[in-house]
């Protein structure tokens, strides 16, 4: 009788990549709910459409790469990319915008680099950045906070375009960060006092809060580590408070920076993407802190009101470098700082 030979360890924990991805997707649900509450069905439609597209494309490309389709689909990574894209892209984005974003994320940013685990850039952010640069008009039409649009109209906008629906102007609006960007010489206090800014901020705060809740859930489940988010939020808060202290009428407060735009989504769901970020604990701190600073710099001095995608992609490039210089000191070894 010859028994099978299997190497140790013979037992393994309950962690599964597919489940981890699923947990991250679940953690976005509060934010999806709030985004739907404030901005209408747009993001919900985005998410569902993007998910369908992503799964189809993932299956197709796995098939082309001659890998077992079901096995690879089960890691849920394509689904997660699609959900993040759907949440990040403006509500009521045209279907082809979604298609291009998902295509570049799944096919170009992920599989052409060798599939899950081998992609140097965050796929969702590649998709986002590509459409942001290519289609600035569509990408800057964010829905008015507190919009009331039926599902039917929402779907019509998504598939047929804006012209088919009456009163378009009333439901697209500049986001708080847009308003800050284009406020000119107007003091911040006056801007905040304006009703459109007030409503926009309120919605943004709520949505960011929801992301923070979802992120905390992931932290509690130890699916993500605290290092990168904490470092990013801290650096963003610090740098913005320095500028705020210099001129509170010109530069928005830390609170506004932390709770508007994609700050919380980025902190908990984007920069924590393990594949494209730095891996060591110390490395994650540097990585997160650098993203926080880049976000502030691009938001404040760049030509785009939102900066998450660009900051993340830039730091993705730096991740291997950070990892190289932040190797932990192994047991019994001297610290490697001077090596």
């Amino acid at each position: 009788m010859v028994l099978p030979q299997i190497t140790s360890p013979h037992i393994s924990g309950a962690n599964r990549t597919g489940q981890l991805m699923l947990w991250v997707i679940l953690a976005t649900l509060p934010a999806l709910a709030l985004q739907t509450y404030w901005y209408g069905y747009g993001n919900l439609i985005n998410v569902i459409l993007a998910a369908l597209m992503a799964i189809t494309m993932e299956a197709a490309i796995i098939r082309i790469r001659r890998r077992p389709v079901v096995f690879y689909l089960a890691d849920n990574s394509a689904l997660l990319t699609a959900v993040l894209l759907g949440l990040a892209l403006p509500p009521f984005s045209p279907w082809w915008l979604l298609l291009i974003a998902v295509l570049s994320a799944i096919v170009f940013a992920k599989h052409l680099y060798g599939g899950l685990g081998n992609n140097p850039f965050n796929p969702a952010m590649v998709g986002y950045a590509l459409v942001l640069i290519a289609f600035p008009v569509e990408m800057t039409r964010w829905a008015t906070a507190g919009i009331d649009l039926s599902m039917e109209d929402s779907l019509r906008i998504t598939f047929m375009g804006f012209s088919d629906v009456n009163g378009i102007d009333s439901w697209t609006h500049a986001t708080p960060l847009d308003l800050v960007k284009h406020k000119g010489a107007q003091p911040i206090d006056a801007l905040i006092a304006s009703p459109e800014m007030g409503q926009g901020l309120k919605a943004a705060y709520w949505v960011n809060f929801a992301y923070a809740i979802g992120g905390s859930m992931l932290l509690c489940l130890r699916i993500i580590s605290w290092h990168a988010p904490v470092a990013m939020l801290t650096s963003l808060a610090l740098i913005s408070s320095v500028f705020y202290w210099v001129d509170p009428q010109k530069y928005p407060s830390s609170l506004m920076h932390l709770l508007t735009g994609a700050t919380m989504m980025g902190a908990f769901f984007i920069i924590t993407d393990p594949v494209s970020s730095a891996t060591s604990r110390l490395g994650k701190l540097f990585y997160g802190a650098a993203i926080g600073i880049l976000v502030y710099v691009i938001r404040t001095f760049g030509s785009y009101p939102e900066a998450m995608a660009f900051s993340v992609l830039l730091m993705n490039l730096a991740a291997p470098f950070i990892d190289y210089y932040t190797r932990p000191r192994s047991y019994g070894h001297q610290s490697s700082w001077w090596r």
Binding site: S8, T279, Y331, G332
Partner: protein, 631 residues
Amino acid sequence: MTDIFLLQGGIHPPQHKLQSSSQPLRTLPLPSQLILPLGQHVGALATPEVAVGDLVLKGQLIASANGTISASIHAPTSGRIRAIEQRPITHPSGMSGPCIVIDTDAQERWLDITEPVDYRQRSKADLLACIHQAGITGLGGSSFPTTVKLSTEASITTLIVNAAECEPYITADDCLLRYHSAQVVDGIDIVLHLLGYPHCLIAIEDNKPEAIAALRAALQNRTDIDVVVIPTKYPSGGEKQLVQILTGQEVPHGGIPADLGILCQNVGTLGAVADAILQGYPLISRITTVTGSYVGQPGNYRVLLGTPIEHLLTATETPLDNIERLIIGGPMMGFSLQNIQAPVIKSSNCVLVPDTQELPWPDPAQDCIRCGHCEQVCPAKLLPQQLYWFAKAHEFEKARQYNLMDCIECGACAWVCPSKIPLVQYYRFAKGRSQAKLVEKYRSDHARQRFEVREQRFLQAKVDKINRRQARITTAAHQQAEKTNHSQPLSSDKLPSVNPVLQLKQLKTAVALAQTKLKKATQALSDAESMQSLSRSKLATTVAALQAGLAQAEKQFQHQQQTMGLDPEREKSLKIAAVKAQAEVRQLQRTLDDVEESGRTASTEQLATAKTLAKVARKQLDIYLQGDHKT
């Protein structure tokens, strides 16, 4: 109470200890045959001391330790040696190895054992020899000969007794402590005596309350021994990890705990030491945990070494047909055994026979998503996912730079890996390949060095030979010169008064000598050439000097000829000789030019050799010329 430090990393796999620890310690019935591999330990195989057909008594030495890093083997019971042959051994490779097979006679006749004297009166060397002779190795799983560890030169300030037993399922040490804590304490006392009474810490995980209680009862409030209860976390029982937990210090890379003044011993080993020193019993049995869903009577058994696993399973009512896999050791670091004929050996602390529900077949590996969970649990603080990428890409050198060799293969990384990548397997592969490459490099370096030394030796021998010969010639020349001086105390310008025939003879000898020297130089040149390097200028000088010498000899010869007409026959033969010598000088010159063309640089040693040669040649020439002038 001793402070404890947190183990970096580590995991909390399900314990599964109750299956076996809830049962009492039992003794296994005697098997009909015992199979004792000669290599049950780290180090050289033991040398058999018995022949096939011999009757052996229980406790009799059947194979003796082959050197220091080796361990003796004793007959676990009385019987007859059936065979000394290759049998499947308890090893992950599934290989066979040399084993002594004993047919047991069920009489359990002991060897006569003299009552040992009190160990406090015995010398350290004597005690160590006794432990060595008893064949005791680390019973925690390492199977490293205990004497080697105990005879450390370092000054030990802390003895750490490892009772952590952090692997799931295994409860052998737990059981030993529950039933034989006094014996363990005796063992500790002996080791403390050997080490000059350092402080002793007994580390035990908090999931063994009964063992802790038994230990405390046996210790009776002693102050020199502390029982340190540590939190249950795998792999706290690793030697380096335990050192860190108990002292906060880290064993330096490439070092051993003794570098920190710490010595670690497993409780099982200490029990065996107590048996050997106090009772005179060699190591012939151990406590083995037999557990897993398929085992009918799971529990801890005192098993004779050499008991076939098959007998162990039958005796514990394990249906052999159902077995899907069998693991020796725990589920984290144990290995799967392929053949149940293999025996229980000194390091077999656990036999695990799981069903597929408790130990499912490994899942197919998914892609690494670099989640970094592995890094968080790595007790050696390595970067497991980085090592995995290196191993996968066959970048063994890089893996070494990332301290691959510090991996203790505890499997914590693979346990947490969400993609179920068999990480440890990758590390073993990389370690093996990396080691093989190093060995290869070492071997080629070694071979090259040997070749170089050999060449050097040959050259030196040649040089010595030439030197000796030259020395002889020099002496001869001196003697000749003295002789001439004695017989003819006149200066050379009064040549005509000397017997011309004798002088001509001498000159002829001188020409012959010059020829010989030229030949030597040619030989030296070709030698040097064969070494593909030489100091060109030195040799050129030699040749030039030799040429000058020859010319002078010829001149003298001619002068002599002119002074006194000689018989033409001799003159002719001498002329021929002179021409020959000239031809050789020319040839030498040509070779020299060739060497110049090849333009190779001489290594220092070869340069030195050439220098020696040149010096010798020049000296010779000088002496010769002097002698010549005198004549």
